[in-house]
């Protein structure tokens, strides 16, 4: 039986179902006019086609939890705007880049992911919590300038950048938290 969420459960990253379509909440805000009742404003991204729309909810509104099945797979490769995953029987599943969002930049060959299915269709992935990436390009850390700007952009995948501490150099390997997309730690080479 589908479990319902009430508006106070809504948060960024929550997967919900609206009119039979699975969505993920990508933006969430809480608005309360004066002494009035709360309004929950959500941007919902369809896990089928990646399109988004904004919808307001009141406190007593509910949404269904989508019926999702999870299977472990490995990332294979990219074809045009599709990402190809493979299960242990070499059966292929594809996901659109706009459904993956920033997760696409954290994938690497043979990366083990959990693929979520909705009515037999692959709709989203969950990456390992931490993945490692090599810094392709970043400005050398400015020495002595520790009072401000203690972070700088670094390219990890094509032109995709994340913010890293100043002591990180080109060629370093870093750990990234895929839940937030943030730098987590430096990986020291043996």
């Amino acid at each position: 039986m589908a479990v319902d969420y009430t508006a106070s459960d809504f948060r960024k990253g929550l997967r919900v179902e609206v009119d039979g379509v699975p969505y993920v909440i990508t933006e969430f805000n809480f608005v309360k006019p004066g002494k009035g009742a709360a309004i929950y404003t959500c941007r919902l991204k369809s896990l089928i086609d990646g399109n988004t729309y904004v919808r307001n909810f009141r406190s007593n509104d509910t949404l269904k939890k989508p019926d999702l099945e999870e299977r472990t797979m490995r990332y294979s490769h990219k074809e045009a705007d599709h990402f190809i995953f493979m299960d242990e029987n070499y059966e292929q599943f594809t996901l659109l880049d706009k459904v993956l969002g920033d997760n696409q930049y954290f994938l690497f060959e043979d990366c083990e992911v959990r693929v979520l299915y909705h009515n037999g269709q692959a709709v989203d992935i969950t990456l390992p919590t931490f993945i490692e990436k090599v810094i392709l390009e970043t400005e050398p850390g400015a020495r002595g300038n520790t009072a401000t700007n203690t972070l700088k952009p670094a390219k990890i995948n094509g032109d995709f950048e994340i913010m890293v501490p100043l002591f990180i150099n080109q060629g370093d390997t870093i750990k990234i938290d895929t839940r937030t997309g943030e730098y987590a730690d430096r990986v020291l080479k043996k």
Binding site: S8, V31, G34, K35, T148, T150, P165, T180, Y183
Partner: protein
């Protein structure tokens, strides 16, 4: 756990705003001292939080954290204190967003033998202390009726509908307010009176106003309701309505009602969100940018 390097960078980035925040608090305290107000402190943990239809209190053991210091400050008014203010933490359960945090800092001030017009004058005078507004002229005082007729096409004072009122306020009226200066929105339908008194001579209107700065709601003020009978009726109505909504119903604050019965002078009062004031003065769009630590 988040990288300590990212956390350090975040806190360092907040430094200019936290300095501004500190200066704002100094300016506020100096202004109140000049006006002859005394700063008071009232309990944060209460057995009977203020009963309002859409405000939920955070439980704390067998009590609750205050959602506002209002009822205790009014007990001081009833005891003869005529100019009081307080700056301190308040808590509202489940309120979290760009402009809400479950724990925040509230400034409240009250004047005895005064009404909401006097509080508007106070607010104007206080905001003049912040040069950023360049307040040469007076802050526009716009009525709810004129704003709704102009931007939403109906008059909530004549025919009130709570859901429609709140929806149009958020989606039509607030977006039409000026983005570059403060305005007062005043004279609410009596159904949205909260703890304000009815306007003498016009019973369908409540003497309540809200301060908006750059389109952001910053403060809410009343000519305070001082009638113990009507106050009890409003509490009881909200208790019934909260029960229907499935919200917790708090016991009535009988000490406050008893204080009203001894006689509270006609008073004006206001609650102003310090975090939001800092947010608009620092030209930021989220409380993330003005509070050092937020729960996530």
């Amino acid at each position: 756990m988040r990288s300590p390097h990212l956390e350090r960078a975040r806190l360092q980035g907040l430094q200019p705003v936290l300095q501004l925040r500190s200066r704002i608090l100094t300016v506020i305290r100096t202004w109140f001292a000049q006006q002859g107000f005394i700063e008071v402190e009232t309990p944060v943990r209460l057995p009977t939080p203020a009963l309002e239809l859409h405000i939920d209190a955070e439980p704390s053991g067998n009590a609750f954290l205050r959602t506002s210091p209002e009822l205790h400050m009014k007990r001081l008014l009833a005891a003869g204190y005529d100019r009081i203010f307080q700056i301190g933490p308040c808590f509202r359960k489940g309120e979290r967003g760009d402009r809400h945090n479950p724990e925040y800092t509230m400034l409240e001030w009250y004047r005895a033998n005064a009404d909401y017009q006097d509080i508007m004058n106070d607010t104007e005078s206080l905001l003049r202390q912040f040069e950023i507004f360049n307040l040469k002229s007076n802050i526009p005082r716009l009525t709810v009726e004129e704003l709704f007729l102009k931007h939403a096409g109906w008059n909530p004072v004549v025919a009130y509908d709570a859901e429609r009122f709140e929806h149009d306020l958020v989606s039509k009226v607030e977006p039409a307010l000026p983005r570059d200066k403060p305005v007062f929105v005043m004279d609410y339908p009596v159904s949205a009176a909260a703890l304000s008194r009815r306007k003498p001579g016009r019973e369908t209107v409540a003497e309540r106003f809200e301060l908006y700065i750059n389109g952001v709601e910053i403060a809410n003020a009343f000519s305070e309701l001082t009638d113990p009978v009507e106050q009890r009726l409003r509490f009881e109505t909200w208790a019934r309505e909260r029960k229907v909504l499935g919200a917790p119903v708090y016991p009535l604050d009988e000490d406050f009602l008893a204080a009203l019965e001894t006689g509270m002078p006609p008073s004006g009062g206001i609650a102003l969100g310090i975090d939001r004031l800092v947010m608009v003065l620092a030209d930021k769009t989220s409380l993330d940018n003005v509070m050092a630590f937020r729960e996530h």
